[in-house]
Protein backbone atom coordinates (compact mmCIF):
# COMPACT_ATOMS: atom_id res chain seq x y z
CA UNK A 1 0.00 0.00 0.00
CA UNK A 2 2.72 2.48 1.01
CA UNK A 3 4.84 1.27 -1.90
CA UNK A 4 2.00 2.01 -4.26
CA UNK A 5 1.44 5.52 -2.96
CA UNK A 6 5.19 6.15 -3.06
CA UNK A 7 5.21 5.04 -6.68
CA UNK A 8 2.25 7.30 -7.45
CA UNK A 9 4.06 10.22 -5.87
CA UNK A 10 7.25 9.45 -7.74
CA UNK A 11 5.38 9.18 -11.03
CA UNK A 12 3.58 12.46 -10.42
CA UNK A 13 6.81 14.25 -9.58
CA UNK A 14 8.45 12.68 -12.61
CA UNK A 15 5.63 13.80 -14.88
CA UNK A 16 5.71 17.29 -13.42
CA UNK A 17 9.44 17.53 -13.99
CA UNK A 18 9.06 16.21 -17.53
CA UNK A 19 6.24 18.66 -18.28
CA UNK A 20 8.20 21.60 -16.95
CA UNK A 21 11.20 20.55 -19.04
CA UNK A 22 8.99 20.45 -22.11
CA UNK A 23 7.46 23.86 -21.43
CA UNK A 24 10.92 25.28 -20.80
CA UNK A 25 12.09 23.73 -24.04
CA UNK A 26 9.06 25.20 -25.78
CA UNK A 27 9.81 28.67 -24.47
CA UNK A 28 13.45 28.50 -25.53
CA UNK A 29 12.61 27.20 -29.01
CA UNK A 30 10.15 30.02 -29.74
CA UNK A 31 12.87 32.47 -30.73
CA UNK A 32 15.54 30.66 -32.75
CA UNK A 33 19.13 31.48 -31.84
CA UNK A 34 21.23 29.88 -34.58
CA UNK A 35 24.53 30.91 -33.00
CA UNK A 36 23.64 29.20 -29.73
CA UNK A 37 22.28 26.20 -31.64
CA UNK A 38 25.49 25.79 -33.62
CA UNK A 39 27.62 26.02 -30.47
CA UNK A 40 25.49 23.48 -28.64
CA UNK A 41 25.51 21.23 -31.71
CA UNK A 42 29.28 21.31 -31.99
CA UNK A 43 29.84 20.86 -28.25
CA UNK A 44 27.55 17.84 -28.15
CA UNK A 45 29.66 15.95 -30.70
CA UNK A 46 33.02 17.14 -29.41
CA UNK A 47 32.05 15.92 -25.95
CA UNK A 48 30.70 12.62 -27.30
CA UNK A 49 33.89 11.95 -29.26
CA UNK A 50 36.73 13.64 -27.38
CA UNK A 51 39.43 11.90 -29.42
CA UNK A 52 38.16 13.17 -32.77
CA UNK A 53 39.61 16.42 -34.10
CA UNK A 54 36.93 18.96 -34.97
CA UNK A 55 37.73 19.06 -38.69
CA UNK A 56 37.75 15.26 -38.86
CA UNK A 57 33.99 15.04 -38.29
CA UNK A 58 33.54 15.76 -41.98
CA UNK A 59 34.81 12.26 -42.71
CA UNK A 60 31.76 10.69 -41.14
CA UNK A 61 32.16 7.04 -40.18
CA UNK A 62 35.91 7.14 -40.91
CA UNK A 63 36.37 9.53 -38.01
CA UNK A 64 34.75 7.04 -35.66
CA UNK A 65 35.94 3.63 -36.85
CA UNK A 66 39.64 2.74 -37.10
CA UNK A 67 39.33 -0.20 -39.49
CA UNK A 68 37.11 1.68 -41.92
CA UNK A 69 39.43 4.66 -41.74
CA UNK A 70 42.43 2.58 -42.80
CA UNK A 71 40.59 1.15 -45.80
CA UNK A 72 39.34 4.59 -46.75
CA UNK A 73 42.79 6.23 -46.58
CA UNK A 74 44.16 3.52 -48.81
CA UNK A 75 41.40 4.01 -51.37
CA UNK A 76 41.82 7.79 -51.28
CA UNK A 77 45.15 7.33 -53.06
CA UNK A 78 43.10 6.19 -56.03
CA UNK A 79 39.60 7.28 -55.17
CA UNK A 80 36.52 5.66 -56.76
CA UNK A 81 35.02 9.09 -57.49
CA UNK A 82 37.73 10.02 -60.00
CA UNK A 83 35.63 9.14 -63.04
CA UNK A 84 32.66 11.14 -61.86
CA UNK A 85 34.91 14.05 -60.95
CA UNK A 86 36.42 14.08 -64.42
CA UNK A 87 32.98 13.91 -66.00
CA UNK A 88 31.87 16.79 -63.79
CA UNK A 89 34.78 18.95 -64.89
CA UNK A 90 33.93 18.31 -68.55
CA UNK A 91 30.21 18.91 -68.04
CA UNK A 92 30.88 22.15 -66.19
CA UNK A 93 33.06 23.44 -69.01
CA UNK A 94 30.67 22.40 -71.76
CA UNK A 95 28.77 25.36 -73.28
CA UNK A 96 24.97 25.47 -73.49
CA UNK A 97 23.31 25.60 -76.91
CA UNK A 98 23.31 29.40 -76.66
CA UNK A 99 27.05 29.50 -76.07
CA UNK A 100 26.91 30.44 -72.38
CA UNK A 101 28.30 28.39 -69.51
CA UNK A 102 27.48 27.53 -65.87
CA UNK A 103 30.33 29.86 -64.95
CA UNK A 104 28.31 32.79 -66.30
CA UNK A 105 25.58 32.21 -63.70
CA UNK A 106 27.77 31.76 -60.66
CA UNK A 107 30.03 33.98 -58.56
CA UNK A 108 33.75 33.59 -59.21
CA UNK A 109 32.86 31.55 -62.31
CA UNK A 110 31.73 28.72 -60.05
CA UNK A 111 35.22 28.01 -58.71
CA UNK A 112 35.71 27.61 -54.99
CA UNK A 113 32.19 28.71 -54.00
CA UNK A 114 30.51 25.49 -52.85
CA UNK A 115 31.02 26.38 -49.16
CA UNK A 116 28.63 29.34 -49.54
CA UNK A 117 25.68 27.13 -50.45
CA UNK A 118 22.90 27.01 -49.46
CA UNK A 119 22.19 30.71 -49.10
CA UNK A 120 18.99 32.59 -48.36
CA UNK A 121 17.77 34.53 -51.37
CA UNK A 122 16.11 37.63 -49.96
CA UNK A 123 14.47 38.52 -53.28
CA UNK A 124 12.79 35.13 -53.59
CA UNK A 125 12.40 34.68 -49.85
CA UNK A 126 13.65 31.10 -50.00
CA UNK A 127 16.74 28.97 -49.55
CA UNK A 128 18.78 28.29 -52.69
CA UNK A 129 20.95 25.17 -52.76
CA UNK A 130 23.83 24.46 -55.15
CA UNK A 131 21.82 21.87 -57.08
CA UNK A 132 18.93 24.29 -57.44
CA UNK A 133 21.26 27.05 -58.63
CA UNK A 134 22.71 24.79 -61.31
CA UNK A 135 19.33 23.79 -62.71
CA UNK A 136 18.14 27.41 -62.63
CA UNK A 137 21.23 28.32 -64.63
CA UNK A 138 20.22 25.72 -67.20
CA UNK A 139 16.66 27.02 -67.37
CA UNK A 140 17.81 30.62 -67.69
CA UNK A 141 19.87 29.56 -70.71
CA UNK A 142 17.16 27.59 -72.49
CA UNK A 143 18.35 24.16 -71.40
CA UNK A 144 16.20 21.38 -69.93
CA UNK A 145 16.65 20.75 -66.24
CA UNK A 146 18.52 17.64 -65.18
CA UNK A 147 17.46 15.18 -62.49
CA UNK A 148 18.45 16.16 -58.95
CA UNK A 149 19.14 12.52 -58.14
CA UNK A 150 20.97 11.59 -61.33
CA UNK A 151 24.57 11.08 -62.40
CA UNK A 152 25.01 14.38 -64.18
CA UNK A 153 24.02 16.60 -61.24
CA UNK A 154 26.21 14.43 -59.00
CA UNK A 155 29.20 14.89 -61.31
CA UNK A 156 28.68 18.67 -61.55
CA UNK A 157 28.38 19.17 -57.80
CA UNK A 158 31.36 16.83 -57.28
CA UNK A 159 33.50 19.08 -59.46
CA UNK A 160 32.34 22.20 -57.64
CA UNK A 161 32.92 20.60 -54.23
CA UNK A 162 36.40 19.58 -55.29
CA UNK A 163 37.33 23.18 -56.15
CA UNK A 164 36.29 24.09 -52.58
CA UNK A 165 38.09 21.31 -50.75
CA UNK A 166 39.44 22.48 -47.44
CA UNK A 167 37.40 25.68 -47.38
CA UNK A 168 35.23 26.03 -44.27
CA UNK A 169 31.44 26.06 -44.54
CA UNK A 170 30.36 29.70 -44.51
CA UNK A 171 26.58 29.73 -44.40
CA UNK A 172 24.93 33.03 -43.63
CA UNK A 173 21.57 33.74 -42.06
CA UNK A 174 20.65 37.32 -42.97
CA UNK A 175 18.73 39.49 -40.54
CA UNK A 176 15.44 38.53 -42.15
CA UNK A 177 12.61 36.76 -40.31
CA UNK A 178 11.99 34.57 -43.36
CA UNK A 179 15.58 33.32 -43.23
CA UNK A 180 15.23 32.54 -39.54
CA UNK A 181 11.99 30.72 -40.32
CA UNK A 182 13.68 28.65 -43.03
CA UNK A 183 16.47 27.82 -40.58
CA UNK A 184 13.94 26.85 -37.92
CA UNK A 185 11.97 24.74 -40.42
CA UNK A 186 15.12 22.88 -41.30
CA UNK A 187 15.91 22.30 -37.65
CA UNK A 188 12.40 21.05 -36.95
CA UNK A 189 12.55 18.69 -39.94
CA UNK A 190 15.85 17.28 -38.68
CA UNK A 191 14.47 16.37 -35.27
CA UNK A 192 10.96 15.28 -36.34
CA UNK A 193 10.23 11.57 -36.39
CA UNK A 194 8.80 10.28 -39.63
CA UNK A 195 8.21 7.12 -41.60
CA UNK A 196 6.76 3.89 -40.32
CA UNK A 197 10.01 3.26 -38.47
CA UNK A 198 9.38 6.49 -36.58
CA UNK A 199 12.96 7.75 -36.91
CA UNK A 200 14.10 11.32 -37.17
CA UNK A 201 17.41 12.29 -38.76
CA UNK A 202 18.58 12.86 -35.19
CA UNK A 203 17.70 9.31 -34.13
CA UNK A 204 20.59 7.97 -36.22
CA UNK A 205 22.94 10.92 -36.56
CA UNK A 206 22.67 12.53 -33.14
CA UNK A 207 21.73 9.65 -30.85
CA UNK A 208 23.67 6.86 -32.55
CA UNK A 209 26.71 8.06 -34.54
CA UNK A 210 29.44 5.44 -34.62
CA UNK A 211 26.92 2.68 -33.96
CA UNK A 212 25.95 0.16 -36.60
CA UNK A 213 22.77 0.19 -38.62
CA UNK A 214 22.86 -3.23 -40.22
CA UNK A 215 26.35 -3.30 -41.78
CA UNK A 216 26.85 0.45 -41.91
CA UNK A 217 28.47 2.69 -39.34
CA UNK A 218 26.35 5.80 -38.76
CA UNK A 219 27.92 9.19 -39.41
CA UNK A 220 27.66 12.06 -36.93
CA UNK A 221 25.38 14.91 -37.98
CA UNK A 222 28.19 17.42 -37.44
CA UNK A 223 29.88 17.88 -40.80
CA UNK A 224 27.60 15.39 -42.49
CA UNK A 225 26.99 17.52 -45.59
CA UNK A 226 30.63 18.56 -45.97
CA UNK A 227 31.53 15.43 -47.93
CA UNK A 228 28.62 15.58 -50.36
CA UNK A 229 28.16 14.58 -53.10
CA UNK A 230 29.40 11.10 -52.26
CA UNK A 231 30.48 8.09 -54.25
CA UNK A 232 28.67 5.31 -52.42
CA UNK A 233 29.82 1.77 -53.04
CA UNK A 234 26.22 0.77 -52.37
CA UNK A 235 25.08 2.98 -55.23
CA UNK A 236 28.02 2.02 -57.44
CA UNK A 237 28.36 5.68 -58.28
CA UNK A 238 28.18 9.31 -57.24
CA UNK A 239 25.00 10.60 -55.61
CA UNK A 240 23.76 14.07 -54.73
CA UNK A 241 22.46 15.57 -51.49
CA UNK A 242 18.95 15.24 -52.95
CA UNK A 243 19.50 11.55 -53.51
CA UNK A 244 20.73 11.08 -49.96
CA UNK A 245 17.76 12.93 -48.45
CA UNK A 246 15.15 11.08 -50.50
CA UNK A 247 16.67 7.63 -49.98
CA UNK A 248 17.05 8.22 -46.24
CA UNK A 249 13.32 8.96 -46.15
CA UNK A 250 12.36 5.80 -47.98
CA UNK A 251 14.73 3.74 -45.85
CA UNK A 252 12.71 4.64 -42.76
CA UNK A 253 9.57 3.84 -44.74
CA UNK A 254 8.46 7.39 -45.34
CA UNK A 255 7.35 8.38 -48.82
CA UNK A 256 10.05 10.84 -49.92
CA UNK A 257 9.12 14.37 -50.88
CA UNK A 258 10.11 15.70 -54.29
CA UNK A 259 13.85 16.52 -54.59
CA UNK A 260 14.55 20.14 -53.65
CA UNK A 261 11.20 20.39 -51.84
CA UNK A 262 11.10 23.35 -49.44
CA UNK A 263 11.59 21.00 -46.52
CA UNK A 264 14.79 19.57 -47.99
CA UNK A 265 16.16 22.99 -48.90
CA UNK A 266 15.54 24.21 -45.37
CA UNK A 267 17.04 21.03 -43.93
CA UNK A 268 20.20 21.52 -45.99
CA UNK A 269 20.31 25.15 -44.80
CA UNK A 270 20.12 24.15 -41.13
CA UNK A 271 22.58 21.25 -41.36
CA UNK A 272 25.09 23.30 -43.30
CA UNK A 273 24.86 26.26 -40.91
CA UNK A 274 25.50 24.18 -37.78
CA UNK A 275 28.60 22.82 -39.52
CA UNK A 276 30.01 26.28 -40.25
CA UNK A 277 33.76 26.39 -39.87
CA UNK A 278 34.26 22.74 -40.78
CA UNK A 279 36.07 22.14 -44.09
CA UNK A 280 34.47 20.96 -47.30
CA UNK A 281 35.74 17.43 -47.92
CA UNK A 282 33.68 16.59 -51.01
CA UNK A 283 33.36 14.72 -53.14
CA UNK A 284 33.42 11.92 -50.62
CA UNK A 285 33.55 8.14 -50.75
CA UNK A 286 31.37 6.05 -48.49
CA UNK A 287 30.55 2.33 -48.20
Amino acid sequence: MSVRSWLKLALAAFAALALSAISLAGAVADKPDPVADANAFRNYFVKKFPNVKLEDFVNGPYALNEDMRRQWLEKEQFPPYEFSLEMGKELFARPFANGKHYSDCLPNQGIGIRQNFPYFDEKEGKVVTLELALNRCREANGEEVISYVGEEMAALTAHMAFTSRGKPFDIKIPNDPRALEAYQNGKRYFYTRRGQLNFSCATCHVQNPGERMRAEVLAPALGILNALPIYRSEWGGMGTTSRRFTTCNSQIRGVPLEPQADEYRDLEYYLSYVSNGLPISGPGARP
Binding site: K75, Q77, F78, P80, F83, S233
Partner: protein, 103 residues
Protein backbone atom coordinates in the same frame (compact mmCIF):
# COMPACT_ATOMS: atom_id res chain seq x y z
CA UNK B 1 40.13 10.71 -71.66
CA UNK B 2 38.86 7.63 -73.47
CA UNK B 3 40.92 5.12 -71.48
CA UNK B 4 39.04 3.15 -68.87
CA UNK B 5 42.23 2.40 -66.97
CA UNK B 6 43.91 4.50 -64.28
CA UNK B 7 47.13 2.94 -63.08
CA UNK B 8 49.98 3.96 -60.85
CA UNK B 9 53.05 1.84 -60.15
CA UNK B 10 55.61 2.76 -57.52
CA UNK B 11 58.95 1.01 -57.16
CA UNK B 12 59.78 0.47 -53.50
CA UNK B 13 63.07 -1.32 -52.97
CA UNK B 14 62.74 -4.88 -54.27
CA UNK B 15 59.04 -4.69 -54.98
CA UNK B 16 56.76 -2.56 -57.09
CA UNK B 17 53.35 -1.60 -55.75
CA UNK B 18 50.58 -1.22 -58.30
CA UNK B 19 47.16 0.39 -57.93
CA UNK B 20 44.51 0.36 -60.65
CA UNK B 21 41.05 1.79 -61.01
CA UNK B 22 39.13 0.57 -64.05
CA UNK B 23 35.92 2.07 -65.36
CA UNK B 24 33.57 -0.75 -66.32
CA UNK B 25 29.89 -1.41 -65.58
CA UNK B 26 30.57 -4.99 -64.39
CA UNK B 27 26.89 -5.88 -64.83
CA UNK B 28 26.09 -9.18 -63.19
CA UNK B 29 23.13 -10.00 -65.40
CA UNK B 30 20.83 -10.24 -62.37
CA UNK B 31 19.76 -6.62 -62.16
CA UNK B 32 16.59 -5.38 -63.84
CA UNK B 33 16.21 -2.02 -65.53
CA UNK B 34 13.31 0.44 -65.21
CA UNK B 35 11.22 -1.58 -67.67
CA UNK B 36 11.69 -4.74 -65.62
CA UNK B 37 14.05 -6.41 -68.07
CA UNK B 38 17.35 -7.93 -67.09
CA UNK B 39 20.42 -5.88 -67.91
CA UNK B 40 22.65 -8.43 -69.66
CA UNK B 41 25.86 -9.51 -67.98
CA UNK B 42 28.76 -7.34 -69.06
CA UNK B 43 31.97 -7.85 -67.12
CA UNK B 44 35.75 -8.03 -67.44
CA UNK B 45 36.82 -11.65 -67.82
CA UNK B 46 40.55 -11.30 -67.77
CA UNK B 47 42.81 -8.57 -66.44
CA UNK B 48 46.54 -8.79 -67.14
CA UNK B 49 49.59 -6.82 -65.98
CA UNK B 50 52.79 -7.30 -67.94
CA UNK B 51 56.31 -6.24 -67.07
CA UNK B 52 59.43 -6.91 -69.03
CA UNK B 53 57.58 -9.27 -71.37
CA UNK B 54 56.14 -11.49 -68.64
CA UNK B 55 52.79 -11.55 -66.86
CA UNK B 56 53.13 -10.40 -63.26
CA UNK B 57 49.45 -10.45 -62.38
CA UNK B 58 46.49 -12.13 -64.06
CA UNK B 59 42.92 -11.99 -62.76
CA UNK B 60 40.05 -14.19 -63.95
CA UNK B 61 36.93 -12.26 -63.09
CA UNK B 62 33.24 -13.04 -63.07
CA UNK B 63 30.03 -11.37 -62.10
CA UNK B 64 30.92 -11.09 -58.43
CA UNK B 65 33.28 -8.17 -59.01
CA UNK B 66 31.59 -4.79 -58.59
CA UNK B 67 31.35 -1.83 -60.89
CA UNK B 68 34.53 0.25 -61.43
CA UNK B 69 36.87 -2.30 -59.88
CA UNK B 70 39.91 -1.27 -57.90
CA UNK B 71 42.96 -3.53 -57.72
CA UNK B 72 46.06 -3.20 -55.59
CA UNK B 73 48.97 -5.64 -55.63
CA UNK B 74 52.76 -5.85 -55.48
CA UNK B 75 55.26 -7.79 -57.54
CA UNK B 76 58.93 -8.51 -57.11
CA UNK B 77 61.20 -6.49 -59.31
CA UNK B 78 60.36 -3.47 -61.42
CA UNK B 79 62.64 -0.48 -61.86
CA UNK B 80 61.79 3.18 -61.94
CA UNK B 81 61.22 4.34 -65.51
CA UNK B 82 60.31 0.89 -66.86
CA UNK B 83 56.99 0.22 -68.57
CA UNK B 84 54.10 -1.63 -66.99
CA UNK B 85 51.28 -2.69 -69.29
CA UNK B 86 47.70 -3.28 -68.20
CA UNK B 87 45.06 -4.88 -70.41
CA UNK B 88 41.61 -6.36 -70.03
CA UNK B 89 39.08 -8.23 -72.12
CA UNK B 90 35.40 -8.54 -71.26
CA UNK B 91 32.68 -11.06 -72.05
CA UNK B 92 31.57 -9.02 -75.07
CA UNK B 93 35.03 -9.18 -76.55
CA UNK B 94 35.81 -5.53 -75.86
CA UNK B 95 39.32 -4.70 -74.74
CA UNK B 96 41.35 -1.82 -73.40
CA UNK B 97 44.94 -1.37 -72.37
CA UNK B 98 47.25 1.22 -70.89
CA UNK B 99 50.98 1.51 -70.36
CA UNK B 100 52.48 3.47 -67.51
CA UNK B 101 56.02 4.20 -66.38
CA UNK B 102 56.95 2.87 -62.95
CA UNK B 103 57.59 5.78 -60.59
Amino acid sequence: MASSIRVRAIANGEITEVQTLIQHPMDSGFVKDDKGEFIPAHFIQELTFEYDGRKVFVADWGTAVSKDPYVKFSFKGGNKGDDLKVSWIDNKGATDNATVKIQ
